[in-house]
């Protein structure tokens, strides 16, 4: 047996094939079984009837998709998109100057500053979200401070609303914006600033006409990296939000764990995947066109 194999793989092409198989097959099989197959099952469950205690009845139906027409769900999708959009915008407005500042320092400073941005990101996501409860709650840092200076009589309701969720999302995903922005700004040729100035442009004009257009790649990449996880978030609204800040992720979770409606939960997951894939596909299409042009 072994000798037969040995002769078979003796030729160069066959040995090459064998090597490739050893390298590529394990991960491929794993991902097909534990990533693709589960998604196929979700797709299948989305057209089946719900079981009483979770699970499904093997009976074809399109009812679960019809339920999507209910305006309640449109409101939740809209809110998810809106909060993710606001988060992306805030991260961009905060992240761009920060990345520009770091990229325009002398080289020996850049790595230290970049490390300073990344370190908080290494701490557990739950811990970072929880920190905002300590800050925002009624007995929290902000309310205690404001009350001790007699600026307010009643504690402000800062927690369990869309404000708290947005702050949490910005805090969670800001580094995702800064890193790609820094990567493009670092390669930006800063002598172009002097050139623009010599040609009579002031700093604002230089920023809008020269710097931003030349670093648009980083802006788009960073925005995608923030928007995509933010729109599918479930912990941040779960911990910092309330009944009025339910996002898509919370809806999926409740369908699977409390409402026990797996088919409708599957439909919602598919909607979420589609929403995430649309900007990615557009991004790659545009990048491809730019490359071909």
């Amino acid at each position: 047996m072994f000798n037969a194999l040995k002769t078979h793989f003796a030729t160069a092409t066959n040995r090459r094939r064998f090597n490739l198989a050893v390298l590529a097959v394990p991960a491929t099989v794993w991902l097909l079984f534990f990533f693709v197959l589960p998604l196929v099952i979700v797709l299948l469950y989305s057209v089946l009837e719900r079981g009483i205690y979770g699970g499904v009845e093997w009976q074809f139906t399109l009812e679960n998709y019809q339920r999507l027409l209910n305006p309640i769900y449109w409101g939740i999708f809209g809110r998810s998109l809106w909060l993710a959009f606001m988060t992306t915008l805030a991260c961009l407005l905060l992240g761009y100057p920060l990345a520009f500042f770091i990229a325009s320092r002398p080289p020996q400073w850049r790595n230290t500053l970049l490390l300073l941005v990344i370190i908080p990101f290494w701490t557990n996501f739950l811990v970072r979200i929880y920190a905002w409860i300590v800050i925002l709650r009624q007995e929290g840092v902000i309310n205690v401070l404001l009350q001790s200076f007699n600026l307010i009589d009643q504690p402000l309701d800062l927690l369990f609303n869309s404000f708290a969720v947005t702050v949490g999302l910005i805090y969670g995903y800001l580094p995702f914006m800064i890193l790609p922005l820094y990567a493009t700004l670092e390669r930006f040729d800063f002598s172009l600033l002097d050139a623009a100035q010599d040609l009579g442009a002031n700093d604002l004009k230089t920023l809008i006409r020269v710097v931003i257009p030349l670093t648009l790649r980083g802006v788009v990449a960073g925005s995608l990296l923030v928007f995509i996880p933010a729109v599918g978030e479930f912990i941040t609204p779960d911990i910092l939000g309330g009944a009025k800040t339910v996002m898509m992720g919370n809806l999926v979770q409740s369908q699977f764990l409390s409402a026990r409606n797996w088919p409708f939960g599957s439909v919602l997951s598919i909607v979420m995947i589609v929403i995430v894939l649309i900007p990615i596909v557009i991004y790659f299409r545009v990048a491809e066109e730019k490359l071909n042009a």
Binding site: V42, L94, A131, I228, F256
Partner: protein
């Protein structure tokens, strides 16, 4: 401002813009860093605050740390010694095993993609890319659905009863970590000069020998960063664990989530501070490793 404005005026405006710009850049940078660090700093400070109810400072205490280690039951939160250590152990166990498996599978597939041109290469790249971009929760629920169907099947066909446990959590972590390891290792292989491997072959080393003696040592720093990333992501993961864990397979993030959901107590600040310290140690360790390898 039109072109008829005097040069002096334009100069003044330009200068004002420059000053505002400079000031704004510094202000936003310092503000941004404060935004990143203040919440963490506050968490650490309040883990030593004697006040149980609110953010007023009532003096220094180590009570909250003691409650973590001594097994005190307080305000309905059953913070027992054993539970925390179990959760920590589960996290490390899942993190360790999933890192080893994902690092091996991820490194192999990275070599395949960087060293071979073959049919289905683009499809394989897409397959590796998808777990990174897909929302965590969809991955979590799809694994939950897979396991429930699989277990049902096993029960009816073979009569074997399986439940969600640490193994299912581990499978979930391996699944998302393969992609991250592959990305990290690929970037290292791409930097590698293929002439080095060719030279080894020319000198008479066969493929296996070349791999062990030349390729592997050269890409090892990339493998190490990939493994560290995988370990960190595994320790950090809440969402996928939440959906694939069963009774008795609580990891540290799931445990902390339970504490937060039940009641906000200073004990959570204490455990958060300890987790912070641990991740800081991992950062320092990985920096030291990187410095040694370059």
């Amino acid at each position: 401002m039109n072109s008829a404005a005097s040069p002096d005026f334009k100069h003044t405006v330009d200068l004002a813009i420059r000053h505002v710009g400079r000031f704004g850049l510094w202000a936003i940078t310092l503000g941004g860093l404060a935004f990143l660090y203040l919440p963490i700093a506050i968490l650490v400070v309040y883990s030593f605050n004697a006040s149980r109810m609110n953010a007023v400072w009532r003096g220094f205490t180590l009570d909250w740390y003691r409650s973590l280690f001594a097994g005190v039951t307080e305000s309905g939160v059953d913070v027992t010694n054993a539970q925390i250590w179990d959760a920590l152990w589960n996290s490390l166990w899942v993190g360790g095993i999933s890192t080893v498996v994902a690092t091996i599978l991820g490194t192999l597939v990275a070599l395949a993609l960087e060293r071979f041109r073959f049919k289905g290469r683009n499809a394989l790249e897409a397959l590796l890319f998808l777990p990174i971009i897909i929302p965590d929760i969809t991955m979590g629920i799809s694994l939950l659905v897979l396991f429930s169907l699989l277990f049902q099947l096993l029960q009816t066909v073979l009569g074997v009863r399986l439940v969600l446990d640490l193994n299912t959590v581990m499978i979930g972590h391996i699944t998302f970590n393969i992609s991250y390891v592959a990305v990290t290792v690929r970037s290292r292989i791409a930097e590698l000069d293929p002439a080095l491997e060719e030279a080894a072959m020319d000198l008479g080393a066969d493929e296996l020998r070349t791999f062990w003696r030349v390729t592997l040592p050269l890409i090892f720093p990339g493998i190490l960063s990939g493994a560290l990333l995988a370990f960190t992501l595994s320790l950090d993961d809440f969402v996928i664990t939440f959906f694939t864990a069963g009774v008795g397979s609580t990891t540290l993030p799931v445990f902390v989530y339970g504490m937060i959901k039940l009641a906000v107590t200073p004990a959570i600040n204490a455990i958060s501070t300890l987790m912070l310290l641990a991740s800081l140690l991992i950062v320092l360790l990985s920096l030291a490793l990187q410095r040694r390898s370059t």
